[in-house]
Symmetry: C2
């Protein structure tokens, strides 16, 4: 799965060449990083495509977002310039992600013990992603000033007994995943520190991420991080309590995380469902940090699509929405009519939504 590599051009391994380096988002708009463009092209990851496979697109997006958001806490978007990972090559990552074997002593997944039932050694590690954080040196040189390494772990591992045969699923307990993750992270950090181009003193943030199961309607979540200022010793992990929920929930327990938000969402849905004679429906992806709702992505479907109706509906949603949703939480609402996305409502904070209509001329 992770041997997929779409790297279509041979990227030079040197990321600090002074030739035609251009920094975009120089004004640091909307809280995102400045990024690097070289000779007119975005500097893609040296291992581009390896962590991103079609079948786990949801996890891949969620994984990358988690790495990006956590990086912002340690590498300020005002000071650092983002660059996709240039230090771990596709070959290196493929070796690391593979099983340990006599021909691959670098493999971070356990040796194949030959079993094809639940006594088999599962693959704990699913992908590794590197992000580099640069600062401008003399001239137009960029220097590596920070790095984030995301390590995505499986809670379920799928396998087949014969090529093309039935797919079996092996569960991995949370405790087992965490323990294996710690071992893997220690090895990764030591290997990075041993790389002379990185060295001992570049701050490295390690983000541990738990993949959602393939049937999930939301991606996974990061569950721990460690900020290594220097050296390769990991002294204490910082645990994260993040959750992604889907509303409306099938069953909720009063007092559980999200139960009040789910009730609010169901009330919102009831409100907007009555707006048209034809049925409208709504679902939400809700994101929690430390049991607090920190963002929602809402999808609304309706079966009619006259321009006046969608305008009135979107306006109505933008007016009643704030009654149901905690203030200051970023929310995006996509309004689909007959499977066509016709309006996007968004707010980054505060209670007012801005509506963008996507009609054709």
């Amino acid at each position: 799965m992770y041997f997929f590599n779409n790297n279509q051009n041979s990227t030079s391994s040197s990321s600090s060449s002074s030739s035609a380096i251009q920094v975009i988002n120089a004004n640091n708009n909307q809280g995102e990083y400045k990024t690097v463009v070289k000779n007119g092209s975005y500097v893609t990851s040296a291992a581009r495509g390896i962590a991103v496979t079609t079948e786990d697109g949801l996890n891949a997006q969620s994984f990358e977002q988690a790495i990006n958001e956590l990086s912002k806490k340690f590498f300020s978007t005002k000071k650092y310039i983002f660059q996709e990972g240039q230090y771990l090559s596709a070959t290196t990552l493929n070796d690391w992600l593979d099983r340990y074997s006599s021909s691959n002593k670098l493999g971070l997944n356990p040796v194949n013990n030959g079993k094809t039932d639940n006594s088999r050694n599962p693959e704990y590690l699913q992908s590794i992603e590197e992000n580099d954080f640069m600062t401008e040196g003399s001239g137009s040189n960029l220097n590596l000033a920070g790095m984030t390494i995301g390590i995505a772990m499986n809670r379920t591992d799928s396998y087949t007994k014969t090529t093309g045969g039935t797919t079996y699923t092996q569960s991995i307990s949370k405790a087992e995943m965490v323990a294996q993750g710690k071992t893997i992270a220690s090895k990764v950090l030591a290997r990075l520190r041993a790389n002379k181009k990185i060295g001992n003193n570049v701050p490295i943030l390690i983000v541990m991420y738990q993949n959602a199961s393939s049937s999930s309607l939301v991606g996974g979540v990061p569950y721990a991080y460690y900020m290594s200022k220097s050296g390769s010793k990991i002294s204490a992990w910082h645990n994260l309590d993040y959750q992604n929920l889907i509303f409306p929930e099938q069953s909720t327990t009063t007092g559980s995380v999200g139960s009040q938000d789910n009730t609010n969402f169901v009330n919102f849905e009831d409100d907007i469902e009555g707006f048209f004679p034809t049925i409208s429906s709504a679902t939400a992806q809700a994101h929690y940090e430390d049991k607090t709702l920190t963002g929602m992505k809402i999808t609304v479907n309706t079966s009619f699509y006259s321009v006046s109706e969608i305008k009135a509906f979107s306006t109505y949603i933008s007016e009643v929405g704030p009654k149901y949703f905690t203030k200051d939480i970023p929310i995006t609402i996509s309004v689909y009519a007959s499977n066509q996305l016709l309006a996007v409502l968004s707010r980054s904070s505060g209670s007012n939504f801005k509506v963008t209509y996507l009609y054709s001329y």
Copy 2:
């Protein structure tokens, strides 16, 4: 085609009942009309669904937008409350849109002359849409204070010689469409004035619209309007010079409408195409009024979708875009990666784009 009717609840014909009338968009946000909600539901058109058929969705959206935008020039969004048409019923509209015959003396399309070649009488009229503009009276009553009637005309009329047989297309010249439209509009206005619920003195804006052909990638355009302050005489039409173009254009003539904008767009496309090693492409729908570009809807497709890449790409587009596009023109840019809409960039005026990301959690 136009006998389609999705009106699932029986709407009362009285639109000024005082019971539970609620006006939404009371703060008149984003330049859109306030609209009417009655007993928690949007007041849909009495003829809901008739003008909107699946096969001409593009024209239907474009037609409704044209009516909406032209209405704003005569019925201020600050003063008037928008309500979908309540005076023309589905039955009435079906009769009007049908051919004239001994059993339907109200038909506005010409009699069937029995021919099945180019000597047949084509159906000139495709649809009629009514919008009502209300003001608040005493109590919470709403009074009809203005009306817009959109009349959509065909430049091509499709027909079959036998049920389910081959579809033939009959062309209608611009001059013929305009002449027939004038006759139809006069009859429509006279009939509306004869309706005692509307009367002689409610201002009625008539918008004449030319459908695009079914193979077009953009909708049609309004080509004339007449504002009737009172009475049923149409003294002089106001012609409109609107066009919708697609960029990049297959062939352009230097100096023709849009040729410089097309060049600018192609330069923009060249710029962003080089951003990723994988190919990106872009197309635009450009809207012109009096040969001046007044808005663009751009679609960008790229085949990769790592979060970092899309963020950098969207940021890049938002930075270079203003170099290529005339200032102060509203532009929406939809960024698709592998057929998934992941970012929407929009500006209503000025040169700065706001980016909304549509990733899942």
